[in-house]
């Protein structure tokens, strides 16, 4: 081989722009292929569509707030938030009427057997007993509450160390998750008296209690206002510490139930958005408990959680026997 031709060929290969062009083209193609193979990550503005939410009125304030924030971030997405109660929400979501059904209670697998029904716990809502401002009582026991709501044995505040004022229990209708929680965790499964005044929404209830002398009711902390007094249960206020310690059991997880949600859809994004710090911060502002703020000291411990069974037993024995 001629050295001259070798060197010339090599130099002509190495030092021509064409070679570098070819090289750049090769790498460019490689990078392009890489870019093509990369699935496009969901960019903020690419979401569009409609989301309908209804159900729990206890959760409604937070969802409405979150929807506003979400729509600000994703202008193409429109979210409709309605109330109607937890059971309505579960019925509507399993009936494909809405995308998300808010609920204060667990969906009964027997009632809603759809295997795609997925629970999203977005926050914790503490419930509290309220009385009208003219009632000076600050704490009641589980037994006393049961006697007022379930058995009707206590009808006057004077029986509880208060003024001589007739007790007016105001309750929520059967669709209310608050009521279900109240029955399960405070009344020990007992039915409320059927003669009690029933108010459809938490907001109306707080006003009714405020305007009715001697009224007593229960509601979510998120709709509490200053016109009513809160009551401690067994001497425990509705605080995070008491909930974590298991001293206060009148609280519930806030559920957002969905059927099958595709990854990256607006519903999925909204559900994730609910867990974002900005929404969780709003939850705290609105007197919810941020889902990650609740830290149980002993997850495996079952003791102390239900303070009701011993008094329940006693009450039952007392009333039944």
């Amino acid at each position: 081989m001629d050295t001259q031709s070798v060197s010339r060929r090599l130099s002509s290969i190495l030092f021509t722009t064409r070679f570098w062009q070819l090289l750049a083209l090769t790498f460019g193609t490689l990078i392009f292929l890489t870019a093509c193979s990369t699935p496009f990550s969901s960019s903020p503005t690419s979401l569009s569509g409609k989301i309908t939410v209804d159900g729990s009125t206890a959760l409604q304030p937070l969802v409405s707030k979150a929807a506003t924030l979400f729509e600000k971030q994703y202008p193409q997405v429109h979210i409709t938030v309605n109330g109607g109660g937890s059971v309505t929400g579960l019925n509507d979501v399993t009936g494909h009427k809405v995308d998300i059904g808010d609920s204060d209670i667990y969906a009964d697998p027997a009632t809603y057997p759809d295997p795609n029904l997925t629970d999203h716990l977005v926050c914790v809502i503490p419930f509290t007993m309220i009385v009208s401002s003219d009632v000076p009582v600050t704490t009641l026991t589980i037994a006393q509450i049961t006697a007022i709501f379930a058995t009707g044995q206590i009808t006057n505040w004077s029986q509880l160390g208060g003024p001589d004022l007739r007790i007016v229990p105001i309750v929520r209708p059967a669709t209310s998750g608050t009521r279900a929680t109240f029955r399960r965790y405070v009344l020990g499964g007992r039915d409320e008296l059927s003669s009690l005044i029933s108010i459809n929404s938490s907001q109306d209830l707080v006003n009714s209690v405020a305007n009715t002398p001697g009224a007593i009711g229960y509601l979510a902390a998120s709709v509490l206002n200053s016109h009513v007094h809160t009551l401690e249960i067994d001497g425990n206020a509705a605080t995070i510490e008491n909930i974590e310690a298991g001293h206060y059991s009148f609280w519930s997880y806030e559920h957002m139930y969905t059927l099958a949600v595709t990854n990256g859809s607006p519903v999925d994004a909204f559900l994730n958005f609910m867990l974002m710090p900005q929404v969780q911060q709003q939850a705290t502002v609105l007197h919810y408990v941020a889902i990650n703020d609740l830290k149980f000291r002993q997850l495996s411990s079952a003791s102390g959680m239900l303070a009701f069974h011993a008094p329940y037993l006693e009450e039952r024995k007392r009333f039944v026997l």
């Binding site: 050295t3 001259q4 070798v6 060197s7 090599l10 130099s11 190495l14 790498f27 490689l30 990078i31 890489t34 193979s37 990369t38 699935p39 209670i105 667990y106 969906a107 009964d108 697998p109 027997a110 009632t111 997925t118 629970d119 999203h120 716990l121 029955r183 399960r184 965790y185 020990g188 499964g189 007992r190 039915d191 997880y253 990854n263 994730n272 867990l275 889902i291 990650n292 609740l294 149980f296 997850l299 495996s300 079952a302 959680m305 239900l306 009701f308 069974h309 329940y312 037993l313 039952r316 039944v320």
Partner: protein, 665 residues
Amino acid sequence: MKVSPQYSLQTGDLGTSAQNRDDFSQPSLTLKRATRRAGGRNVFLDLSIGWRLALGFMIAALVAALASGVVGLQRSQSLSKQTDFYQTLLQLNTSLTTGHSFLELMGSKLQQTLLDASVANPSRETLANDAGAITNLTTLYTQTLNTYAQNDLLNQHSDQLALLQEANQDDLAAQQLTLVSSTQRTWQVYEAAQQQILTYISTGDLQDANLLLQDQGQPTNDDAQSALQSLIQLNARLASAVDAATSVEVQNQLLTTLVATICAFLAIALVGWFISDTLVRRLRQLHHVTRAVEEGRIDERVLVSGRDEIADVAVAVNSMLDTITGLLGETRNQRDALAGAAEHLFSDMRIVNAGDLRISAPVSNDPIGMLANAFNFTVGRFRRFILRTQTTIEQLDVVSRQGTERSNAFIALVRTQLHDVPSARAHGAPVLAFGRAQPPSGPLRAGIRKPGSQPLQHEDFSALSKQVQQTQDVLLHTTREDLQKRLSTTRETVEEASLSIGRLSELISTRSGTYAGNVTERMTQAQIQELVNLENLLRKLFREVQQAQLNVNSNFTQIDAAFTRLSRALTDLPSSAPTAEQAEGLSYLSDPQFQEFARQAGGFAVEMNTLSRRLAAIIHEMRTGITPFRLDGATSLNDPSRPTGSLGNNGPSQAASPSGNLMFS
């Protein structure tokens, strides 16, 4: 690499053109043996090319293997991570599903227990079995939940958490915690209710038990199942998160692959460039040097670096160039020697041209020597011709002198006969001597002597003179033939000489393409001219000689005839003289016949004298022509028999040097 054929060692034609000679006579001053070794500069250059290439390929292969190894390792790591995660998820799913069936069993068993207790006479054993089963299920479910809470939380598995973080779904860990809390809580509520119901049953408070089961037991069991269901569903989300993480990992792997590919490409290209750099630059330098040598700069040398094959080639090229330079020097020396020899020959020729024919050029084995040999031969040949001519001149000289002498003697004899016959008889001897000296006159005299024995009459003189005239004519004819014979011989010699000249010219023209001819071409040309001059001179001389011989022959014939007649007359006269002197001593002197004869004889003698003088003049002329040649001294011709060397065809006629020494007179 090309080597210009101009500098090939095989060709002997140094100095084809004057420019070429200048070209390589100049750098000869700066010739140097420049074999420089700059080793140790680059360690790789000490390796052979084969080793270097092998090393380069090894490094390239290593780089490629490293790149693909990194990619493969990453892939296998992520794969094993994913596999572990999936396995964990499968186990969790199984245990949680089992837990779910425990819950269902507990619910149905609790109802069964209540039914068993509601019969009229409840079997204690059955109730104990039912209670045992429920307690067992409770323990199992509690264990399941505790195991999950203690061992299977994502927070406790950093690798799983890392995988979720890759998919940007690490909030699933918090959700899992929440769901576990939820499950725990519902379970605790149900467990408490269940415990209460069992207590009612064991205390026989079936109504309360039934009530509690309806109001609390069943709903809380549902809650517990629902919460557990959520926990189970979390597994599906975890699985999809792992899937997302996998795709992220695949992207990362692709990126790694790309980066590794680019790195490998650059590394391999670098290695290749480095190796080719160690080759190409030096090859280019080698090429540069060969190019320079091709253009005539033969003092260029390759800078040798390293100890590989290229270095070997470079050393070989350097030594080859050294050898070529040495050979060029040697050739130059030879050329100088040849030029010297040619110069010497040229000066010899000059001397010969000046007329000195003693020259014998030194003969060597080279072409110049052969030329010198040819030259010597030509000169020798020419010299022999000159010598022959000289001899002829000598003979002619003698003949002319004798002719003059004899004509004088005859005139004297005639005068003596006329006045003093006896005194005239004394001159018979020289006449006879002359007759003997001339072989053709011998038989004539003998032929004449026989009839001469008869006594002469006075009237015989007229017959005698007539006879003289006849014999003169006959001899003239015969000598002419003889002359023509000589002429033809000389002509043959000349033709042979011309042939030799042709051969020499041919020889020179064929030799002109050779090495020696290159050097001394000019000299050879000059030499040929000189030889041509010599040839012209030779021709001229030949013509002179021819003419001289012709004249001499004719004269000689006349002389011979005249003298023969005269001799007869004279011989007859003395034989009758003793009688005639006394008897008619002066009678025939007054005889008109005799007067006629005397007049004729006198005329003849005068004529012969004139001829002799002319002959002498011609001889003189010839002598002056020959005198410039110096013939003595070197006489040896190496090889006179060699049929080489003659003279050219034409040229300027050579002027005989008047200053030439007269070596003979």
